[in-house]
Symmetry: C2
Subunit: 356 residues, 2 copies
């Protein structure tokens, strides 16, 4: 078997507006590092998957930015349109099956931040070993706070372990919890965050598609037969018209019985909103975190990101202030989860559309 | 007698940062009109004082912006440095006395906003008549709210009146009041806002300088003797080194006994802070006023000024948000009076200085 990385680059990144825009969403900007999150994801898995075994899956609208960031030799698979993770993973599986007799694929969202590369790689290695047995492996993150923004996985029986990495059967997948339930999960100790990273043999995930989404699996086989022919592009369009716009968790993982979870100790941040800055930038004595020049007077607990010039804050608290290009965002910290609604209003404004 | 307008352009305009900067303060920007406040002030008095009888007094650092805004023929008097209104008025008096046998001067701060030009001009006409008798005339504005940001004038005996314009002797000048006192002034009816506009015969104001600031008056006479000679520039520097950095109210008006007040009915706004926008821009249903593109979601009572691009507000209230060039200001409305302290912090920041 050989290990391929499938890097999912399909996010809209709306929660990082205005730094992230439609043409260059979150995964293509450098949020906390020198390279973009996509470039960092590629570099992180490289010791196990050299560039020729990395496949980037993205909606075709990101073609230009992907070529610019990854170079001319990167292997890219373009979706006619973004359709959540299940179709993207199916598409990648179809491509990999054609070019490798026994491929295993590690699925990595392009927009996560992990700094402990050795820790991450040892978790992937254990996942790859377990995947050989035909298991569908998720990666779970040990929670350090009762976060209500993530899905959780309830761990079952321990099935493998070595230093810092342990694998368990999965007892249950849990939706984003209430604050009380999140605290209970944290206290119980046998719950982890569902990271959205996976590893499995390609034939195992295809078998799971066949079992749980038989129609999509048939379409996928029809498409696979056209790869490399003149009919490929048309078949791809047909595949995506019929594909279920659902996540792999919903389509497969929550239903399958051969699921296991590798829990690592590496740091992990899905960089879900501007508040993630708080975890990556040192605060000033008043609790403000800022990238770019902030001068604040009697202001506290603000999160500031400015790409140039100066931001001055006077007598304000608990705000998110972002200046990027021609746009300024000022939001209440507690309401930052409602960015999607704000962007809908911007889209609905006659002069707003061009700023998305 | 002939009437000259002396337009005082010396303000720092700090309260309108970042739209107003050190090199181009408030009086040189178009806050609510097509022209800058200085250009509007010049145009407003033109029916009584044509350009050749307008004299602009400003610190020399504003030379370039004044020439650019007023053209090559404007009559400019440059101060070596800004020193409040008493020296500027003394300097203008010295110049006017040399070129006109019996000049009267109307003193107009360059940074006020008055939209009712006919009303303003009839008040000036009445002021000019009274000034002939040797009175020092202030212009008082009938208050429409208990504003604590202005000085007040207590009116005494009525001495003249015609449609919409009435003149009174001045009973007392009152400092910026407490809220309770401001409400009492408003209820009493015989208090007006001290507009900072004046009119007097040049020999009357010089006599007042002689009486109340004799040392400055002597220096002024020494300077006047050098005007038009090679020694003028040096004498000007000497005059300003010794000049009291005080307002004309403090130096003369509060002490003199030949003071009267013309109360007009014209609108007047000294545009004292960003909150002035509220009086000049129609609010949206949530009470936000904005110049430039604002898209707001669940945000109320914000004051927004943006020179380009977009400002998006999410879940915030009672903020002042200004984007101008490379700077963004986010301030609590209630603390907007503390701009000076904020700017001091910006000046003290290693990277802040360049943004003032």
């Amino acid at each position: 078997m050989s290990l391929h990385a499938v890097i999912l680059c399909g996010g809209r990144g709306e929660r990082f507006w205005p730094k992230s825009r439609r043409v260059q969403p979150k995964q293509f900007i450098a949020l906390f590092s020198r390279g973009s999150l996509t470039q960092e994801t590629s570099a992180r898995i490289r010791p196990l998957c050299p560039p020729e075994r990395q496949l980037f899956v993205a909606p075709v609208e990101f073609k230009a930015v992907l070529r610019r960031q990854l170079g001319p030799d990167a292997r890219l698979a373009f979706e006619p349109t973004g359709r959540n993770t299940a179709p993207a993973i199916g598409l990648a599986a179809a491509y990999l099956k054609r070019e490798d007799p026994d491929p295993t694929m590690v699925v990595l969202p392009a927009d996560h931040l992990i700094e402990d590369r050795p820790g991450f790689l040892s978790a992937v290695r254990m996942g790859a070993q377990l995947a050989r047995q035909g298991l569908l492996i998720t990666f779970g993150i040990r929670p350090d706070r009762p976060d209500t923004g993530y899905g959780y996985i309830q761990l079952g029986r321990r099935i493998a372990g070595k230093a810092h990495v342990t694998a368990y059967r999965v007892a249950a997948f849990k939706e984003k919890p209430s604050p009380a339930r999140a605290r209970a999960y944290l206290a119980a100790g046998n719950y982890v965050w569902n990271s959205g990273m996976f590893i499995w043999r390609v034939d195992a995930i295809l078998a799971a598609f066949q079992r749980f989404t038989p129609e999509f699996h048939t379409q996928l086989e029809e498409f696979a037969a056209t790869v490399g022919t003149r009919r490929e592009k048309q078949a791809l369009a047909r595949l995506y018209r019929g594909a279920p716009a659902t996540s792999i968790d919903y389509a497969v993982m929550e239903k399958a019985d051969n699921v296991a979870c590798v829990r690592g100790t590496f740091d992990w941040d899905d960089v879900g909103s501007w508040l993630a800055l708080v975890r990556h930038v040192e605060p000033d004595p008043a609790g403000n975190v800022a990238r770019g020049l902030l001068v604040s007077k009697d202001s506290s607990n603000c999160v500031v990101d400015s790409d140039s010039g100066i931001v001055a804050a006077l007598g304000v608290k608990d705000l998110v202030i972002v200046r990027s290009g021609d746009a300024v965002l000022v939001a209440d910290r507690k309401q930052i989860g409602r960015m999607k609604q704000l962007l809908a209003d911007i889209a609905g404004h006659p002069a707003g559309q061009q700023h998305l």
